[in-house]
């Protein structure tokens, strides 16, 4: 997919004025938040659980090279193949080589962020290999030619009417906007694909070094299909997804479904260890594990930034982020969105394409509060901002004007009535500001976009009525600066 992350601001503005998208985003936020809260309310000590999950990931990353070696040994022992890919290009080349060697014509795929990261579908298509996304949300966006807009629900930005139109056109079925009928239409179309496919490609939620197992979590059953029916199963995995033991796997299984979709467990949790054994009729004949680096070995060098490798891709941070819930997933212009996306994209994308994303945050900390592995996302965003500023050759400190503006700004923000009063007084001068901007007066250019997205209040009450409240505020403020 075409990376659009450097156009975040522009895309976000478009998203903000799209009232239908805003409605969908509100529902996304509310639904996922409520479900996650309910799922964690059942847990005796949620903070202790998150601490345990954090410890599992910390320990895994601290031992990463040794665990990867152990994982490789165990996977080979159960008859699988392990391939190491330094970058996207190499990963795709490896997969295509496996496909060509086995004369694969059609592939069925489970939802996998990492395969989007490497642009696998495009690479396969270029080699004349048919790829079918089988997760319903991914199937929908594949038909629509769009990237995913949310880690857990990639097509949640679409209304059922849009999906109805899409299916009636692309699947050649009579128009229906009933989700049940649409889902059954997808089930029928994909069932054929599952049975005919030569190869199934999935990601991996985790891999257990101790046993050489790949763990896959889902609700629909499409991932089970991809890893059971076709004769070849390829699992693509970022190197950071390996965990040490079965106990560690169990800990992460306690937090991942709860955090992602408010479920105690997803409908299907698959623990796959190698290929079909001699006396078995179902399961793949060949199993390949692709271990992807793609700059993760860079990220791990920094002891603070390393934390982003703990991410288990639950999407909880997206669902509470005030920026994501207004801008929507597509504004982030790539595979990963929301707070974790802002960090990862800035680190994984080349040529500073992700440079706007660490600034796409209010640093409110809601993401840090919900993260099941307690990643300090705001801290990582600040570190990235500093880095980006340094790269641009800017001074590490801030200038006098900025300092003054921040001081005035913080004093005004702490006094609501004063803020209201000042906001309403901007209405008349805003026209003047436009004129000044046109004349190229410095600094005005920054105020205009800020002003454009806001409706300034009118001073409904006469000033005389507002004054007592304002006076009290200013007086109180003098004693607490």
């Amino acid at each position: 997919m075409q990376v659009q992350s450097h156009r975040f601001k522009e895309l976000a503005i478009k998203a903000i004025i799209d009232s239908r998208l805003q409605q969908n985003l509100r529902q996304i936020g509310e639904t996922f938040r409520t479900r996650r809260e309910q799922a964690f309310s059942e847990v005796k000590d949620p903070e202790a659980l998150k601490d345990r999950a954090r410890e599992v990931k910390e320990r895994a990353i601290a031992q990463l090279p040794w665990l990867l070696e152990e994982l490789e040994t165990k996977v080979k022992r159960v008859g699988g193949h392990v391939h190491w890919a330094r970058d996207a290009r190499e990963a795709n080349a490896l997969i295509i080589a496996i496909a060509e060697e086995a004369q694969v014509h059609s592939v069925v795929k489970g939802k996998s962020m990492v395969t989007e990261e490497i642009g696998l579908n495009t690479a396969l298509a270029r080699h004349g290999i048919d790829v079918w996304e089988t997760d319903l949300g991914e199937f929908i966006i594949q038909l629509a030619g769009e990237p995913p807009s949310h880690i857990i629900g990639p097509a949640l930005h679409k209304n059922k009417e849009e999906i109805a139109r899409l299916f009636s056109k692309k699947l050649d079925i009579p128009y229906t906007d009933d989700p049940q009928e649409l889902t059954m239409a997808a089930r029928r179309a994909l069932r054929e694909r599952f049975l005919k496919a030569d190869m199934g490609i999935t990601g991996a939620n985790m891999a257990v070094a101790e046993t050489g197992s790949v763990i896959l979590v889902e609700n629909e059953g499409n991932i089970r299909f991809c890893s059971t029916i076709p004769r070849i199963h390829i699992s693509v995995m970022g190197i950071e997804k390996v965990v040490e033991s079965l106990e560690d796997m169990a800990t992460l299984l306690e937090v991942l479904p709860r955090s992602a979709s408010g479920q105690r467990l997803s409908v299907y949790t698959s623990i796959l260890t190698g290929l079909r054994r001699p006396n078995e009729l179902d399961g793949p004949e060949e199993f390949h594990l692709i271990l992807l680096d793609n700059r993760r070995t860079e990220i791990i060098k920094d002891p603070e930034l390393r934390q982003i490798l703990y991410c288990i891709r639950c999407g909880a941070c997206l669902n509470v982020c005030p920026v994501y819930l207004k801008a929507g997933g597509h504004s982030y212009g790539w595979v990963y969105s929301g707070p974790m996306g802002s960090v990862l994209s800035a680190l994984l994308l080349p040529d500073r394409l992700g440079r706007e994303l660490p600034f796409a945050s209010t640093l409110c900390g809601a993401c840090r509060d919900v993260c099941p592995v307690k990643i300090d996302l705001p801290r990582l965003l600040i570190i990235l901002r500093q880095r980006l500023a340094e790269e641009k050759g800017q001074e590490a400190g801030i200038g006098f004007v900025q300092r003054l503006a921040s001081t005035i700004g913080s004093k005004v923000m702490a006094r609501p009535t004063l803020y209201q009063f000042l906001s309403s007084t901007i209405r008349p001068p805003s026209k003047a500001l436009h004129l000044l901007d046109e004349r190229g007066v410095a600094g005005v250019g920054h105020i205009i976009p800020w002003a454009r997205c806001r409706n300034f209040p009118q001073l409904k009450d006469p000033f005389s009525r507002k004054w007592p409240k304002l006076e009290k505020e200013l007086a109180g403020a003098r004693s607490n600066p």
Partner: protein
């Protein structure tokens, strides 16, 4: 070519992490799950299964099994069923009972293509289950046990038959089970596939509307044998 990538990746990691942290005192690894006594209340489990839209019955006599299967086959107009060849399932006589209800019962054959074809044609897939989890209402299935991977996936209805004594309290009990299977296997390996199944297949990808049977079974029936 790939050996080079392997070395490069591992070297980069080892230069960023020069010392492997010494292993903390390893907690005793679980070797056995904690099986629940059959007298422990079944209410919480039954509630969980119902809330997941699964249909469950504890059968205390063969008559109840017949009754349950009759309802299942009538309600879903089952004409063809595919049965796993797990020895436990043979002993329960479920296959015979279904045949007596005029259901065409097929067993997992030896030829893979025939087997997959049979799974595609059947309305009902019947498997055993190794355990049922109180905490989540999950069933634990494993390969090979008579090819239960495809049987519990392709047909639109999945019936899992399990003994009442095979109940565990927590999902984490799965770990003890996995270790036991690993220890029992001659090569010291885990089974090729182990599944935790928690309800019938579902999706909410279209406007959060819950739809059952996205790809896997639309309906999950659980028959717990207590006799």
């Amino acid at each position: 070519m790939n050996r080079r990538s392997r070395e490069i990746i591992l070297n980069r990691l080892k230069s960023a992490l020069p010392h492997r942290p010494s292993k903390a005192e390893a907690a005793t690894k679980a070797l056995e799950p904690q099986w629940l006594d059959i007298t422990t209340s079944w209410e919480p489990l039954l509630d969980k299964l119902t809330s997941l839209s699964a249909v469950v019955r504890i059968a205390r006599a063969k008559e109840e099994v017949k009754n349950f299967l009759e309802n299942l086959t009538k309600k879903n107009q089952v004409r063809k069923a595919i049965l796993s060849s797990a020895p436990f399932l043979e002993r329960t006589g479920v296959g015979q009972i279904l045949q007596e209800m005029d259901v065409m019962v097929q067993k997992a054959s030896h030829k893979r293509s025939d087997f997959i074809e049979a799974c595609s044609q059947a309305e009902l897939g019947v498997t055993s289950a190794q355990a049922i989890v109180d905490e989540s209402g999950s069933l634990i299935l494993r390969a090979p046990q008579g090819s239960e991977r495809a049987i519990s996936l392709l047909p639109p209805i999945h019936l899992a038959v399990i003994e009442a004594k095979n109940r565990v309290a927590h999902v984490s009990d799965l770990v003890g089970m996995l270790r036991r299977w690993e220890a029992e296997s001659p090569e010291g390996m885990l089974p090729s596939a182990v599944y935790l199944i928690t309800g019938p297949s579902r999706t909410a990808d279209i406007e959060f509307t819950l739809v059952l049977g996205a790809h896997g079974p639309k309906a999950l029936y659980v028959l717990i044998l207590d006799y």
